[in-house]
């Protein structure tokens, strides 16, 4: 793929920075969870950074991102303030959902981040509806909707693909195939086996599979997809093959997969892969990496500090925003 030469140094470094930001943010939230500062479910995105950063930064400011409960990476790649995201994880009033949503339900209206959704597949009809509104208003926005391999077995998945296809709606269905839905391997849960993009074919939706550990491959695929979708040609389906390096959630010791498999995938760490390649292409150097690492560490430390020091929502606010 001949994308790298077209990439500008500033862009490369920014993409690298975003992946590192997600990685460090997730490591920090994992730590805060272990320290009892974050509660409930916490699903880390570590290992899958190339997907969010390979796709979301291509969108324009008016486009919409719809995510699932593993949403921190998508939110950060959309430019959501790490402080507001971390504060949400700690349930603080300054969180991007006012402490009412939590890790699985990040929202940011200003950035077109239309939410993290914690019912598997539940976000897909909503993405279709957002795309319908876009089409009816004759806008040129697109919707980028993420979901996991597990979601592809839900009725809402199939209903959404069908409707988006017959109405030619501007939505990119982005399947993050990390091979597992909790502890269930895709080989055991899908009639199509590992190649879940095949599920889009009956709905006449163009579908491709891409290496989700390779930022440039994801980026190239999404660039084409967005062009197509924005030209009103209807939905596109992308399946990115990836792997989560951590358990399903912080509560998961990952007993269902052996460490050899995990180690094998870790050798394909998306951040490392990108770094090595960009070193070779001369678009990133050791000094840049050190600088970015430092910047990101400071940003994450600041986010954690901000979250820790932020106020809890007031008890009186409990009834706010039930109705409007």
């Amino acid at each position: 793929m001949k994308v790298a030469p077209k990439l500008e140094k500033t862009l490369v470094q920014d993409l690298y920075r975003q992946m590192v930001l997600i990685r460090r943010f997730e490591e920090e939230s994992g730590r805060l969870y272990m320290q009892g500062r974050i509660h409930g479910f916490l699903h880390l995105y570590i290992g899958e950074e190339a997907i969010a950063v390979g796709s979301i930064p291509i969108l324009g400011p008016d486009d919409y991102v719809v995510s699932h409960y593993r949403d921190h990476g998508h939110a950060l790649a959309r430019g959501l303030d790490p402080k507001a995201a971390m504060a949400e994880l700690l349930g603080k009033a300054t969180g991007c959902s006012g402490g009412r949503g939590g890790s699985m339900h990040l929202f940011d209206l200003k950035r077109g981040f239309m939410g993290g959704y914690a019912i598997v597949g539940g976000q897909m009809p909503i993405a279709v509806g957002l795309a319908l509104g876009i089409k009816m208003r004759r806008e040129r926005r697109v919707v980028l909707c993420f979901f996991g391999d597990g979601a592809a077995n839900e009725g809402e998945f199939h209903e959404s693909l069908n409707l988006a296809s017959i109405w030619k709606l501007p939505v990119i269905f982005f399947l993050e195939n990390n091979l597992y839905g909790m502890g269930s391997h895709v080989d055991k849960t899908h009639a199509t086996g590992r190649d879940l993009y095949l599920a889009a074919e009956p709905y006449q939706i163009p579908a491709v599979q891409v290496d989700g550990m390779d930022l440039l491959a994801v980026r190239e695929t999404v660039l084409h997809a967005i062009d197509r979708v924005r030209s009103d040609a209807g939905p596109v389906f992308i399946e990115a093959m990836a792997y989560r390096f951590r358990g399903h959630s912080m509560a998961d010791p990952s007993a269902y997969r052996d460490s050899a498999e995990v180690e094998l995938w870790k050798k394909r760490d998306p951040i490392e892969t990108f770094r090595v390649r960009m070193f070779t292409d001369g678009l990133l150097g050791p000094a840049d990496v050190a600088r970015i690492e430092k910047e990101v560490e400071a940003a994450v430390a600041e986010a954690a500090k901000f979250a820790e020091e932020s106020p809890e929502p007031t008890p009186e606010s409990i009834h706010d925003h039930v109705y409007g």
Binding site: G101, F107, L109, I119, P125, L130, L132, G155
Partner: protein, 325 residues
């Protein structure tokens, strides 16, 4: 004042909304070329076109979910789910998504959507097509539930529902579409959370909604013949619920019976009865009664079905038994 049926009133409310606001559009199974399973949207497709009167595949989750998404993006969808029985296939979108969006996003997103659906039994449609789930939805914070029993209320509540910025279940009773009544030419609205006293009386209060209002009215007539004066309160919306009007009535009558078509176990009448005993306990001369559907899946057979749904006779019996009237 012109007379019209509930069907005509709902239809008029929808046309008004489509005419007034280009963000409003309709979406539902067979609402277009078929004209609606209950003929509410007959002629709409011809008038408004397929963009604003959208026939959809039989896929309730995505129909309602697409409504949620469209509403979040600034549209005002009126989604028709053919009957309330089928809303079970969209329960995730209604309860987990529509109802939660504003709260979970800390007020950043809202879902100004109306879900019109048809509730109720009595048409010999059998167990899967004769249920009443509006009371279930009324237990969900974030949703509103409207239950019109007259053409006047149907139009007035629909206007309110469409103007409202929250997701609203608008439950139309299958057997009430033909009910006629006067509807003023001048614009009016019926607010949510405002019950209506349909008949004044001083001896006992019957609380009801949708088709059970007419059952209550018939029971009231029968009791009037025996010298018992019944007050009938029509709730008109279940959420918000106008407890004040019910309590006021009970303070006058000292007796209350709640009638609902749904099963009694966990039913909405229990909620009303509980509110009455909490807020009017000292005024009560006896227990708050409930009359509900029998605890069976709705039978198809005509007489069995009739036995399963509350009748005026059962209401009268209950009142006589509870209060010795």
């Amino acid at each position: 004042m012109p007379e019209m049926s509930i069907r005509e009133a709902v239809s008029l409310g929808l046309r008004e909304a489509l005419d007034a606001d280009e963000r409003v559009f309709l979406m539902g199974e067979d609402i277009g070329s078929y004209g609606g399973a209950y003929a509410v949207t007959k002629g709409f497709l011809e008038k408004y076109g397929p963009d604003r009167v959208r026939d959809v595949p039989i896929a309730e989750a995505v129909i309602v979910g697409a409504g949620v998404g469209a509403a979040m993006g600034g549209m005002k969808p009126v989604v028709e789910v053919m009957t309330i029985n089928f809303t079970l296939l969209a329960m995730d979108q209604i309860v987990n998504h529509a109802a939660k969006m504003r709260y979970m996003s800390n007020g950043q997103f809202e879902v100004p959507m109306v879900i019109r659906t048809v509730t109720g039994g009595g048409g010999q449609l059998g167990a899967t097509h004769s249920q009443n789930f509006e009371g279930w939805y009324a237990s969900v914070p974030g949703l509103k539930v409207a239950v019109p029993s007259t053409p006047y209320d149907a139009l007035g509540l629909l206007r309110t529902a469409i103007a409202d910025r929250n997701p609203t279940i608008f439950a139309e009773h299958a057997l009430l579409y033909g009910v006629k009544g006067e509807v003023p030419k001048e614009r009016y609205e019926v607010p949510f959370g405002k019950a209506e006293v349909r008949r004044q009386g001083k001896d006992v209060t019957i609380v009801a909604y949708l088709r059970m209002v007419s059952v209550a009215m018939k029971a009231a007539e029968a009791l009037a013949a025996k010298g018992v004066q019944v007050e009938v309160v029509d709730l008109r919306s279940l959420r918000p619920l106008d407890v004040a009007t019910v309590v006021e009535s009970v303070k006058k009558t000292s007796r209350a019976v709640v009638v609902e078509e749904n099963w009694r176990t966990g039913g909405f009448a229990a909620e009303v009865a509980s509110a009455v005993q909490e807020q009017a306990f000292d005024h009560l001369d006896g227990p708050v009664g409930r009359v509900g559907g029998l605890e069976v899946p709705m039978p198809y057979n005509r007489s069995l079905e009739a036995a399963a749904i509350p009748t005026p006779d059962r209401v009268v019996e209950t009142i006589e038994r509870l209060y010795g009237l």
